[in-house]
Amino acid sequence: MIEIQDVSKRHGDRWAVRELSCTVRPGRVTGFLGPNGSGKSSTLRMVVGLDSPTSGRVLVEGRRYAEHPAPLTRVGALLEARGVHPGRSARAHLQALAATHRFSRRRVEEVLELVGLTEVAHRRSGGFSLGMGQRLGIAAALLGDPATVLLDEPANGLDPDGVRWLRGLLRQLADEGRTVLVSSHLLAEMAGTADHVVVLGRGRLLADAPLAELLASGARPAVRVRSPRARELRDLLHGPGVVLGSPAEDVLLVEGASAEQVGEVARAHGVPVHELVTEQPSLEEAFAALTGDAVEFDAGRVRR
């Protein structure tokens, strides 16, 4: 469990995080979303005590991170960029971390095996691909068998097999009752993995809700209908509160009317329908609806 309590963080004259409060609960995968520069990484760094908040506090497993006698057994973290010396082997990197908590050599071999790096563990990590580096970072995060796992952009550089493996791992960790917080800019990746999402924009909390709820609150669901007489159907559906789009000659996108209504209208006028689907808004759309202002604000600042 991570409790973020009214946390603000200032870097020079810029607020990276402002008055953020949220609780990340165990037993589910929480996605941590937000445009670049929205304060995700700053927040994660404060959770593990690398940065200290300008005001407010962050508790993990009931205490400030640095107050845990064996912090790696409470929290494991993969933070942005690679935290491995290029001249050191993967095994030596993990052994150095393990030595701080007197974890056994066997535990190092276990996490190497878990992330599939056993074969290359003796090689200098400077020659690792981005994906191998990520796997090593995940191994380091899991070294202490922690109750809370933080992963910043873990899917970066993983191949499709690796992404599938990662999803399974995140699910397994959550099912074991751990707190799992995963940041990502790959929204599609989140849609397939997260149960709950926390969305930041300009350092402020925009949403803290189950994924399904966020999706429902975003853009309205649209009905996609394909018909050889699409143009005729378009005139029939035209009415107050209904928005019509036509991405292709024989396809209509209908907002403001349900699939049932569209189907009834088509049947009443004898218009053949070849396809009739309710399209849920994508996470991208929901995300854009939430963060639109935040993104524009940032872009405006950059232009100036």
Binding site: R45, A66, P71, L79, V84, H85, P86, L97, H101, R102
Partner: protein, 246 residues
């Protein structure tokens, strides 16, 4: 997944961790081998040249050893930040001060071990190579030169690790140590004042035959000055390390 064993104190763990890091970088191991060679030459010269010598070869060997040790120490600390390992290091040891102490003990210990081997090797080589010139290894002047070298290089380890943690930059840390240790020896200005800089205090500690106009501090005072520099540097590094964001 099986639960790892219980974690013991952060201090001993941090020392072990820094020792693993020291051993597992090829560049560090190579540097210590080079330091061993230079120190062996230094010890051999101390034995064969009369009076523990202000002689140029000893002078040059000490300076070279100081430079190499400074390089290893600065990189061990600043490298954490330039290579990005600082994040994992200080996540594992969030109280941070044990990392500083771990680095000092790991590198100080490695240095003493290397010096002991080098002293035996250098002494043996001197006894075999120049038996008529070689002094006794138990000559007080020789013992003082070796002891002074040990204290000097330990001081350089502390200065280097501290400067590396304070500047977080290999170049910046090296420049700081260079300015304190090497520069005052190479370019001697205001000798009465610069005698209190670590580089010249080290000379006062190692060399006994220096003329009075060199204005080197006498042995005990030189040792006290070196220790004071080391303590101040380490405390500054510990304070900044605890307060600053990683």
């Amino acid at each position: 997944m099986t639960a790892p064993g219980p974690a013991a104190g952060a201090w001993s763990g941090a020392v072990r961790s820094e020792w693993v890091k020291l051993r597992s970088l090829r560049s560090t191991v190579t540097a210590y081998a080079a330091i061993a060679a230079v120190l062996a030459a230094l010890c051999g010269l101390c034995l064969t040249l009369p009076g523990g010598g202000t002689e140029d070869p000893v002078f040059a060997a000490l300076l070279l050893a100081e430079l190499l040790v400074a390089g290893v120490a600065v990189l061990a600390a600043a490298g954490e930040f330039s290579a990005g390992t600082a994040r994992s290091t200080f996540t594992a040891v969030p109280r941070r001060t044990p990392v500083l102490v771990g680095k000092l003990l790991a590198h100080g210990g490695a240095l003493l071990a290397v010096l002991a081997v080098a002293a035996v090797a250098g002494g043996t080589a001197a006894a075999i190579g120049a038996p008529e010139a070689a002094g006794s290894p138990l000559d007080p002047l020789v013992l003082r030169a070796v002891g002074g070298t040990a204290l000097t290089l330990l001081g350089v380890v502390v200065l280097g690790v501290s400067a590396g943690l304070l500047t977080r930059s290999p170049a910046g840390g090296l420049a700081a140590v260079f300015a304190l240790v090497v520069l005052p020896v190479v370019v001697v200005t205001a000798p009465e004042v610069t005698a209190y800089l670590p580089g010249r205090a080290a000379q006062g500690l190692v060399f006994t035959g220096a003329p009075p106009e060199a204005h080197l501090l006498p042995g005990a005072a030189a040792a006290a000055v070196l220790v004071a520099w080391a303590v101040v540097a380490a405390m500054a590094a510990a304070t900044v390390l605890r307060r600053r964001d990683v």
